[in-house]
């Protein structure tokens, strides 16, 4: 029997894209500091993002400690608590996940996976990182200014974000807004590069419909970000003017601390619309890359082609498009026109359709696969669990009548941590375990990895599962302490304590992961160029780690889609994308 493959042909069109002019640095600084190589920029992004992410992790411990053992920590007062909440949320969503998925994985994987030597404009790409770093430093600086960082919540709602009673109303809020503006400018420089590289700089034979889903996910997320961040940028400018010049874009006439302020006639709801026009797509900016990466991890480690590739691509694109018309489901209780609620609840439920479709396809890919329970695979499966979990509670919150009593409770906190905190973070881990061998040439330690997975996964459930109950019981979010509130049963306190213990354990286990990263860099088992027997181009490079220019002398030519695993009739259980059908080794026992 001849081998059967999904989408393969011996024909490749002649090259249309010119060889890229690469900048060749001679000094150490040019190679590793002011580097224009997307792979180095990726690592710079990743290290910075993880570094600032650790700050957010520590902040979450402080919050948890306060919630579990109120009155025991003299250094956490109510203002601090609000500041911790705000900085934790903002850092995790924007400075960690967005930067890591797009700046980190995007930079590393896009050129390698589409078969390009680098991003199309490496210089702009380099500047992107340095602007991002500036944004991070500005954010860190806000911890040290008088009054500390802003405590307005990561949503920064006016009027309270600006009023003097809110912590950080003098300097913190200004630094936050400036830092966000820098982040957006830096991201735009990188984002334009990612999009144009995917669209215009693919190698011969690489059609859009042969791209690995990882690239589709990152690409669509980048487009989303380029269209969503403008709304945040504009609202940051307007709020900045409200703070510094005393304009009243978002500020109504208001009495604060017994004093009539000079503001008059502005619209706080306008800010919420702008913020969530950015904020909802932002959820998908971190989710879509995770979707893409998970699809690839599952396919590689189950040795099976992804189920319904085309459907998966269209689902990603559809989710991306729909994500722009659901934003006001965050505003059911904001005082906007109640008729909007009907429209936005409907679109919200519609977006669940392509999302559910993706979940089915992942499960069907696993179905009867030759599942290798490697560490990346464990994380990918963990993602499916937490994502389904968070998705289901999302259906609850998407309906106005259910949302109204639940909004601003711990139920919401549990929901979004499941769906956009834990789920994408699990993918980040899985992806690091998967691609670390390509980046360093060494495998991460397996035993430590499995330990890391199980504690993180089970621990996350121990943290967030009970939190749903706290929400039902009415425990509000962003509260320093619930004190002797009558309607909240006393057992809530015991639950809070157990959640905190789980959170601390999960937190400490991340040290094992960091240790693994460092230890394996020096002592890990050498990986060879393709340890997972994967088909995509990044595993077919001449050197591991790939050198500047990625592919050595000649660029690869692509003859097939990215998912030729266990193709009947072929000898190996995978056929790399750059192997033409005529060169496929057939299995000897022809039947």
């Amino acid at each position: 029997m001849d081998y059967v493959a999904h989408d393969a042909s011996d024909f490749a069109r002649p090259a249309e894209v010119e060889e890229m002019e690469l900048y060749h640095p001679k000094t150490f600084i040019g190679k590793y500091i002011w580097s224009q190589d997307a792979k180095v920029i990726a690592v710079q992004y990743a290290i910075t993002a993880i570094g600032i992410g650790l700050v957010a992790l520590v902040l979450s411990w402080l919050m948890r400690l306060q919630l579990a053992f109120p009155n025991s920590f003299s250094f956490i007062d109510p203002s601090n608590y609000l500041q911790f909440v705000t900085m934790h949320g903002m850092i995790m969503v924007i400075y960690l996940l967005t930067a890591l998925f797009l700046g980190g994985f995007g930079n590393y994987l896009i050129p390698l996976m589409v078969g390009a030597r680098d991003m199309v404009f490496p210089y702009v790409n380099m500047v992107s990182y340095w602007v991002y770093l500036t944004a991070v430093l500005l954010l860190v600086a806000s911890f040290f200014v008088p009054g500390g960082p802003t405590g307005a919540g990561w949503t920064l709602y006016p009027p309270q974000a600006i009023l003097q009673g809110t912590p950080g109303a003098t300097w913190g809020i200004i630094l936050m807004l400036v830092s966000l503006a820098f982040f957006i400018i830096g991201f735009t420089m990188g984002g334009l590069n990612y999009v144009v590289t995917v669209l215009q700089a693919r190698t011969r034979g690489m059609t859009m419909m042969r791209l690995p889903l990882t690239v589709w996910g990152i690409f669509t997320a980048t487009v989303l970000a380029l269209l969503a961040f403008p709304a945040l940028f504009v609202s940051a400018i307007m709020m900045m003017l409200d703070v510094t010049l005393g304009t009243s874009f978002f500020m109504p006439a208001i009495v604060s601390m017994g004093q009539q302020l000079d503001y008059t006639g502005g619209s706080p709801v306008l800010f919420q619309h702008l913020f969530w026009f950015f904020g909802h797509p932002e959820v998908y900016i971190v989710a879509l890359p995770a979707f893409g990466i998970v699809s690839d991890l599952i396919s590689v480690h189950a040795r099976k082609n992804i189920f319904g590739y085309r459907m998966m691509v269209w689902a990603i694109v559809a989710i991306g498009g729909l994500s722009f018309i659901v934003w006001a489901h965050h505003m059911y209780v904001s005082g906007m026109n109640p008729y909007f609620g009907f429209f936005f609840a409907t679109t919200t439920l519609i977006i669940a359709v392509p999302t559910a479709l993706k979940v089915y396809n992942w499960v069907l890919t696993l179905w009867r696969g030759n599942i290798h329970l490697t560490v990346p695979m464990l994380f990918a499966i963990g993602f499916i669990f937490t994502f389904i979990n968070g998705g289901l509670t999302g259906l609850f919150l998407g309906n106005v009548t259910v949302d109204v009593p639940l909004s601003d409770t711990m139920f919401v906190v549990a929901h979004f941590h499941m769906v956009m905190a834990i789920a994408p973070i699990l993918v980040v881990f899985g992806a690091i375990y998967h691609w670390y061998p390509k980046i360093t040439g060494r495998m991460l330690n397996d035993t430590l990895g499995k330990f890391h997975f199980w504690v993180t996964f089970v621990g996350s459930y121990a943290i967030y599962y009970p939190m749903h109950y706290l929400g039902f019981a009415g425990v509000p979010r962003r509260y320093y302490a619930i004190g002797g509130t009558n309607f909240i049963p006393e057992s809530a306190q015991a639950l809070n304590a157990s959640i905190t213990i789980a959170a601390l354990i999960v937190g400490v286990v991340q040290v094992v992961f960091l240790y693994n990263l460092v230890w394996s860099y020096f002592k890990g088992k050498p990986s060879g160029s393709n340890p997972w027997s994967a088909t995509t181009l990044e595993w077919q490079t001449a050197d591991t780690p790939p050198k500047h220019g990625n592919f050595g002398e000649t660029l690869p030519v692509v003859y097939r889609w990215a998912y030729d695993y266990s193709v009947p009739g072929a000898k190996e259980d995978f056929i790399p994308q750059n192997v033409p059908p005529r060169d496929v080794v057939l299995s000897s026992n022809k039947t």
Binding site: V196, T247, S267
Partner: protein, 223 residues
């Protein structure tokens, strides 16, 4: 239509014969469109929800010439200048691809001069509003405070775009004059070879800034 589908599903490039720089500028402008749309929609919202009456633009923006108050005259001239500059820009692109160095240079400079005049007149308008009419970002004697806030914010943001455009027009003009584009001399920062494409990319940006002005003009001065 079929052509589009064929291009998108073919390999290597989704847009055939579109250089990288041009594709990047288009996508940037798309993103920038969202910025300006957010600004303008916010402006419309605050204008509609303002609690005090909105000042009448044709009175505020009138200019007294020869003893007579003419509404919107300054703005009409500014708009005319900016639109003309789009014309000279388009000609510069044409001469650029013909490798006519001298004409390209001259036309780019004229475009830059028009742009600078526009910014100059805007500065004049701002001064007049601030000094004579007492309009401030946080309030004004004529009515809703948001009038001054949105006006300064949006025209300021647009004016910044024009100013940046003028600077780059001058840089490109100098490159043309020196023959950097004919000799494919590497750029100072990026080290990439110079090509006449950059004149066209510059043009895309310039036309965009122009187009945005038409919208600002419509919703600010005519509404």
């Amino acid at each position: 239509m079929q052509g589009i589908v064929a291009d998108w599903s073919s390999d290597q490039r989704a847009f055939k014969n579109v250089p990288w720089g041009k594709a990047m500028m288009w996508i940037f402008l798309l993103s920038d469109t969202f910025i300006f749309s957010s600004f303008l929609i916010s402006y419309m919202t605050v204008r509609m929800s303002a609690t005090e009456p909105w000042p009448n633009p044709s009175e505020v923006f009138a200019l007294t010439l020869f003893g007579e108050k003419i509404p919107l005259i300054l703005i009409a001239i500014m708009t005319f200048i900016l639109i003309s500059s789009s014309g000279t820009m388009a000609m510069a692109v044409k001469f650029g691809y013909e490798k006519n160095r001298k004409m390209t240079f001259i036309l780019l400079l004229i475009t830059a001069a028009f742009g600078a005049t526009f910014v100059g007149m805007q500065a004049f308008e701002w001064t007049k509003l601030i000094v004579e009419e007492g309009v401030r970002p946080w309030g004004n004697p004529m009515g809703a405070a948001q009038f001054g806030s949105s006006f300064f914010m949006i025209t300021g943001f647009h004016g910044t775009h024009v100013s940046i455009g003028v600077i780059f027009l001058i840089i490109v003009a100098i490159k043309v004059l020196r023959g950097d584009l004919d000799h494919e001399r590497p750029g100072f920062l990026t080290g990439r070879k110079g090509k006449y494409e950059i004149v066209e990319i510059m043009g895309l940006y310039w036309h965009f800034v122009d187009l945005v002005w038409v919208f600002i003009f419509a919703v600010f001065y005519l509404w």
